[in-house]
Symmetry: C2
Subunit: 339 residues, 2 copies
DNA sequence: ATCCCAACAGTTTACGGTATCGTTCAAGCG
DNA sequence: CGCTTGAACGATACCGTAAACTGTTGGGAT
C-alpha cells in the first residue's frame, strides 16, 4: 500500500494535520518538527494523493493539453513551452493525442475534465466549434486554443501571425530579386488564407502585380505534402512564365517543390528560390538547406501556458486575449543565390 | 459550478446513491428509474469526478504513458495502439513527454503517481535503471516498458525484435545480390548491438564474410541523423572496396546515405541498394522511395497496453512478460534494382 | 499574579463518490 | 393472516487531504 499522511504521522507521533501543514509550507510549525517530517517524508517516498487534495481544494495543479497527434515535430516545441510555463508555477501538464478524430477529441477532453484539470489547452484541427462554444459558455474551466483556431473562436487563442508569415516569405523572395513569385498554398484553412493575404500585401508594397495563376492549390489533398509540392511545381514549370521564386505552406511541400525543380534541371537558388515554413530541424540538413519561416514554437507554448495560468488565477488582469506570435525568417541556401 | 451526483439526485427526488448505482450499472434499480436518470444525466452533461471515485475505489481507470518526446513520428503509432487497448477496457490514457531529460522524466512519473493512474507505461531513453528498479520493487502499480528497454530491466517489456531487424534487412540485401553489405549503426545502444547480431547471422547463414570495416559508427553523435548517414557513406565510398548494399539504423540515416551516394554519381539501386528502418511515411514518398523495415508500432502499443491491463487485473495469468514484435520488410525502389 | 497572545499541535468537518448494509413495501406462500 | 422473500431504493461510513477551528503551552506585558 502507498504511504499516506497518516502513516507518516503515526510514525512520528504527530497528527496527520501537522504533516499536511509542513508539506504545504504553513508557518505554524516549529523548524525542528518541520525538519523531522521532511526527512521522514523523503525516506518513505511519500507521494501526495492529488485526488484527495483536489477533492478538498477543487484544484489539481494540473493542466491538460489535447493535441491532434504526437507525431508532428513542430508540436514538440509548443509542448515544451507550455510545460515550462506550467512548471514555473508548480503546475503539472498532461497530454492527450486525439488522433485527428473529432469524436475521440471530445472523449479525451472529458477524461481531462473527469481528472479535474485546472485548465485545458487545445490544439484542434476541428472546424466545427459548437462543442467548444458550449464549453466556453459553461465556464467550467479556462480553455485556451493553441496553434490552430477553430472558426468562430476568437478569444483565448495563441497562434501564429499568419499574415506576417506570408509577408515575410514573400518579401524575402522579392529581396532575392524574384519577379514571379508562386505560393503553394496548403490546406483550405483560415491560416492559408491569412498567408495569402500577407503574400499579396508584400507584392503590392513592392509594386509587383498579383498574378492569381501563381497561387496554386493542390489537386490531390489526400496525397503527402511532399507529393503535393512536387506535383504543383511540375505544373508551374510546364507553363510559359516560369516562376523564379516559390514559397510553400510547409517545409515538406517546399522540399517536394525543390525536388521537382531539380528533376527539371532548374538550378537552385540561381534560377529559382524556395522558402518553406516550419523550419523543421530534419530538413535543414538536407542537400539544399531550405530557407524557412521559423515558428517560435516554444515561445508560442510559453504564452499559451501563461495565458491558461492567468485564467486559472482568476479575474486579476486575465481577460480573454488573442496572442499572435511573429515568425522569423531563417536564410539558407535554397534562396541565397541572388540576395 | 460543475454538476454533481447530488444535483441530479435532488433534481429527480432520488438519493445520490441511486444515481451512482445507475451510472455504474448496478442491477438493483428499476428500468424506469434508470431511464429517467440516464436522460437527466445526459441533459445536464454530468461528468463524473474521477478524483472522488478513485479515493474510494483506489482506481482511476486511467493509465499513464511517459515518452521522451512528442515529436517522433514512430511513437504516434505506438500511442495509438496503447490507446486502443486502453479504450477497449474503458480505460483512459494520459501522456507526458519528458523531453529526453531524466530528471524531468522522474517528475512526470511522480505527477502520474499523484494522479493515481492504475498503470504506467514508459518509453525511456535512460540507461540508468535504479529509479525504475526501485519502483518495480515497491510494487505500487504495474510498470511496462515500451520500445526501449533500460539496461537491467528484463520484465514487462514490449519492444522490437532487433535481431530480426538486422537479419531481415541484411537478408534482403543479400537477395538483392549485394556482396558487400555495410551497416550504418546508430546510437551506442543495446538495440543497435542486437541488429548487428542479426546482420552477422544473416551474413554467416549465406556464407558471406563479416567484414568489421563495413560496420561504421558515426563520428559526430551530436549531428543530425541525416548528416551522420551522409558522412559515414562518404567515408565508405572513399575506400577501395565500395559496398554495394547499405542498411541503416534509421530511415533518416538511410536518406542521408542515399544522398551521399547520389552526390558521388552512384546509381541507385543499380550500383548500390539501401534499406532503412522505421518506414517513415514522410520519407517513402521522396525521390527514391526507401526500402525500409516497418515496425508495427500500433501492434506494439496494443500489446503493451494489454500487458498493462492484465497487470492491473492482478495475478490471474499476468506474470511479467517480455514481448518482441517481429518487423516486416517493405520493398521500395531504393533496393529493387536486382531483386 | 493575571491576562493575553504567540507558537505550536490536534479536532472537526467537508469534498464527491462508492461499498456495505439497512429499510420499505408489495407480492407470494402455506 | 403471519411470515418470508426480494425488488427498489436509501442511510451511513469512509477514502486522503485541507480549511477552519479548538486546545495547550509558555513567556512577556500589565
Amino acid at each position: 500500500m502507498r504511504v499516506r499522511l497518516k502513516d507518516i504521522a503515526k510514525d512520528l507521533n504527530l497528527s496527520k494535520m501537522t504533516i499536511s501543514k509542513v508539506l504545504r509550507g504553513q508557518t505554524d510549525i516549529s523548524d525542528e518538527t518541520k525538519a523531522r517530517v521532511l526527512k521522514r517524508v523523503k525516506e518513505l517516498k511519500y507521494i501526495p494523493n492529488i485526488s484527495a487534495s483536489s477533492l478538498r481544494t477543487g484544484q489539481t495543479k494540473t493542466m491538460g493539453l489535447v493535441l491532434p497527434s504526437i507525431g508532428k515535430p513542430h508540436l514538440s516545441a509548443i509542448v515544451d513551452g507550455i510545460r515550462h510555463a506550467a512548471g514555473a508555477q508548480g503546475y503539472g501538464l498532461i497530454v492527450s493525442p486525439s488522433q485527428e478524430d473529432a469524436e475521440y477529441e471530445q472523449r479525451q477532453i472529458e477524461v481531462f475534465l473527469s481528472l479535474q484539470v485546472d485548465a485545458l489547452l487545445i490544439v484542434s484541427l476541428q472546424e466545427t466549434t459548437t462543442f467548444f462554444e458550449q464549453m466556453q459558455r459553461s465556464k467550467s474551466i479556462p480553455l485556451v486554443f493553441v496553434d490552430h483556431r477553430p472558426a468562430g473562436i476568437m478569444q483565448n487563442y495563441v497562434g501564429l501571425h499568419d499574415v506576417e508569415v506570408g509577408r515575410i516569405a514573400c518579401e524575402h523572395l522579392i529581396h532575392c530579386a524574384c519577379k514571379r513569385i508562386a505560393y503553394l498554398r496548403g490546406p483550405r484553412t483560415a491560416a492559408a488564407d491569412m498567408r495569402a493575404k500577407g503574400y499579396r500585401q508584400a507584392l503590392n508594397e513592392h509594386g509587383l502585380a498579383v498574378q492569381s495563376d501563381l497561387v496554386v492549390e493542390s489537386m490531390h489533398p489526400e496525397e503527402s505534402e511532399y507529393r503535393r509540392g512536387y506535383e504543383a511545381t511540375v505544373r508551374l514549370l510546364q507553363r510559359r512564365g516560369r516562376p523564379d521564386g516559390v514559397m510553400a505552406y510547409s517545409d515538406m511541400m517546399a522540399v517536394g517543390a525543390m525536388d521537382a525543380a531539380i528533376s527539371q534541371a532548374v538550378r537552385i537558388p540561381e534560377e529559382m528560390c524556395f522558402v518553406g515554413c516550419g523550419d523543421d530541424a530534419l530538413l535543414c540538413s538536407m542537400r539544399i538547406p531550405l530557407t524557412s519561416i521559423n515558428i517560435a514554437g516554444r515561445e508560442l507554448g510559453l504564452k499559451a501556458g501563461q495565458l491558461a495560468l492567468a485564467a486559472i488565477g482568476g479575474g486579476n488582469g486575465s481577460r480573454p486575449q488573442r496572442i499572435l506570435i511573429k515568425p522569423r525568417l531563417v536564410r539558407r541556401k535554397s534562396s541565397d543565390g541572388h540576395c
